[in-house]
Amino acid sequence: MRGRPFRFLPHTADLLVEARGKDLPELFARCVDALFSLISDRRYVRPAETRTVAVKADTREEQLYLLLRAALLLFSADRFLARTARVTMKKNAVALLVAGEPSDFSRHPIGREVKAVTAHALTVRETRDGVVARFVVDI
């Protein structure tokens, strides 16, 4: 696996995220990393507690969309910041395990407010050395 696990690309008004992984579980985990890197700086987040999220869908695009939507709620509804993410998959079920801690913006640098992950232009495709996903977040 070469290159950065994820990067942010231009999209007027919002942000386009591109992430890579050797397989789907790794790719999905990198997408979650990217999401939390937008909200704060993950280097300041301690992996003190864990949270889990589970979604089910028939296509990998739908799986990624529902997974990111649920991951965002960890922060936006429960004020939890993730430092690391691990994903396991079985048939059409995707399970996410994150390690992190409740947000405390006296210690965690303030990043961007992510309103939502959009289904617009969300893609998952195979490349020579793995899989790559793109999605737009509304800031």
Binding site: P10, I39, I110, R112, E113, K115, A116, V136, I139
Partner: protein, 482 residues
């Protein structure tokens, strides 16, 4: 002018038609000067205007404002009116930030006298008005209060000492959309909003102190209580996490219902449901509830700003005279009456990044303004200029009573951030005479003035097209951002 393989037809110096093609039910209509159009055709906004024209029940035109830019599903700066019987409602046609909008507070103060106190004021506002990711507001909503905010909007604020009767009267729809149903808002959405009432948020949201720099229409300015050199406060915020989640929840519900009903559209974010369907009606009641949350949010922000001014300047409310000119949203869907092909008809108008701009004589605006039209506020690039306009008869004729909402992005967030690497935005803004306080340097870098179109050009286009009338220009002197 070409957009890919589509030839745009120039109707006038400020109007362009996108001819019908493929599955488009109506043509597109974009308000822009030739120079702005050359910029607009570079991204996908025109394609999105065309996509919206595919929606069932759309009337007359799929409309784009001069500040239009590439969104997801609908363009930002888009207007679409739907036939109530045949048409659809689309959460993507309103946007995530339901009833995001702008309010202007006037004052009795002249900027000249206020200038030495500006630093104290901006620091005070930054301290007292919660902003940025994860900030929490002064009230934590629970139980009955939450329900009352969702059904009563600004009226809840008035009953809790956060609003005057005048504040409520000078807010669009009296500060509360009818038909709101708190039960149509999911528990998760309520949770996202519970501690966010009275918080500014992040991104392009702001609170700024302005000086009335130039008056174009003395009569309207007089009626709005504005005079040259006056200090005023402009607030831009929306329905916070609660609104974002309502949109997200219903996009999913409607995508499911479309799959079941085998409705195909060019973009998933255009997910929609018939206005007269259980999903459509439920979304409309959730939308109204979220809109009311936004009215209450901006009202609380105004309350906090007033308190800060009173405290810092040590004066009484009467001397300060910080009263509401008007509050109007720019991400909404509303039932309104419009003329369609010579017939008066009830329609549902989607405005995503477009401001309602009702003309003189409209029964839907405060009586005090019926001689000159509804006030419209157009925030510009950070620290450059913002405008006060008035609604006009032209808007009723051409754009379902709508006009632009801001400068519109020209540069993506990543480009903006890259262009300022290593520079201190706060210092640069100070050199331009604008004090800035912000929660996040990252957000600030993405909001540099160069990232936006020239607001003066946007405003000139809507003025020349006759879909609003220029009243006054405001010069920002201090900005608080999330």
């Amino acid at each position: 002018m070409q957009f890919r393989d589509v030839s745009l037809r120039k109707l006038s110096d400020t109007m362009w038609e996108i001819p019908r093609s493929g599955g488009m039910r109506v043509p597109g209509l974009v308000f822009a000067s030739e120079r702005m159009m050359a910029d607009i055709v570079r991204d996908e906004a025109i394609r999105q205007v065309m996509n919206v024209a595919h929606l069932p029940g759309i009337l007359k035109y799929s409309i784009g404002m001069p500040d239009i830019h590439w969104g997801y599903g609908f363009p930002i700066g888009g207007v679409a009116a739907m036939d109530v019987a045949e048409g659809v409602i689309s959460p993507g046609g309103v946007g995530y930030d339901i009833n995001c909008g702008v309010r202007l507070l006037r004052s009795n103060l002249a900027m000249e006298g206020l200038r030495p106190r500006l630093r104290e004021l901006v620091d005070g506002l930054h301290r007292d008005v919660p902003s940025g990711v994860g900030s929490t507001g002064l009230v934590r909503l629970a139980g009955k209060d939450e329900e009352s905010v969702l059904s009563g909007g600004s009226r809840w604020c008035a009953s809790h000492g956060y609003a005057t009767a005048e504040d409520v009267a000078f807010t669009e729809s009296g500060g509360a959309f009818p038909g709101a149903d708190p039960d149509a808002v999911s528990p998760i959405a309520k949770k996202r909003g519970r501690d966010q009432l009275g918080t500014l948020g992040s991104g392009n949201h702001f609170l700024e102190i302005d000086e009335v720099a130039e008056i174009y229409d003395a009569e309207a300015a007089g009626v709005f209580g504005l005079f040259p050199g006056q200090a005023a406060v402009l607030i831009h915020s929306g329905s916070r996490g609660l609104g974002y989640q309502v949109c997200d929840d219903y996009l999913l519900t409607m995508a499911d219902s479309m799959r079941r009903n085998r409705i195909e559209l060019p973009d998933r974010q255009l997910a929609c449901a018939p206005i007269r369907s259980p999903e459509g009606e439920r979304y409309l009641s959730a939308l109204a509830a979220a809109a009311n949350f936004a009215f209450a949010n901006r009202q609380l922000l105004a309350h906090l700003a007033r308190e800060t001014f009173l405290k810092v300047l040590g004066m009484g409310p009467r001397d300060l005279g910080m009263t509401l000119v008007y509050d109007c949203g720019h991400n909404n869907a509303k039932f309104e009456e419009h003329d369609v092909d010579g017939r008066r008809q009830r329609v549902l108008v989607h405005r995503k990044g477009a401001t309602r701009a009702f003309p003189p004589g409209s029964p839907d605006i405060p009586e005090a303004y019926r001689g000159v039209g509804q006030p419209v506020f157009i925030p510009g690039e950070m620290g450059i200029a913002s405008y006060v306009l008035a609604g006009s008869a032209g808007a009723m004729r051409l754009s379902f009573g709508s006009t632009c909402h801001g400068a519109g992005r020209r540069m993506s967030r990543t480009q903006a951030k890259a262009s300022v690497r290593g520079k201190s935005i706060v210092r640069e803004m100070e050199n331009r005479g604008v004090l800035v306080a912000c929660a996040s340097q990252k957000t600030l870098a993405e909001e540099i003035p160069e990232a936006y179109k020239d607001v003066s050009e946007v405003v000139q286009v809507v003025h020349d097209a006759g879909i609003a009338v220029k009243v006054a220009r405001l010069r920002p002197v201090a900005v608080v951002k999330g």
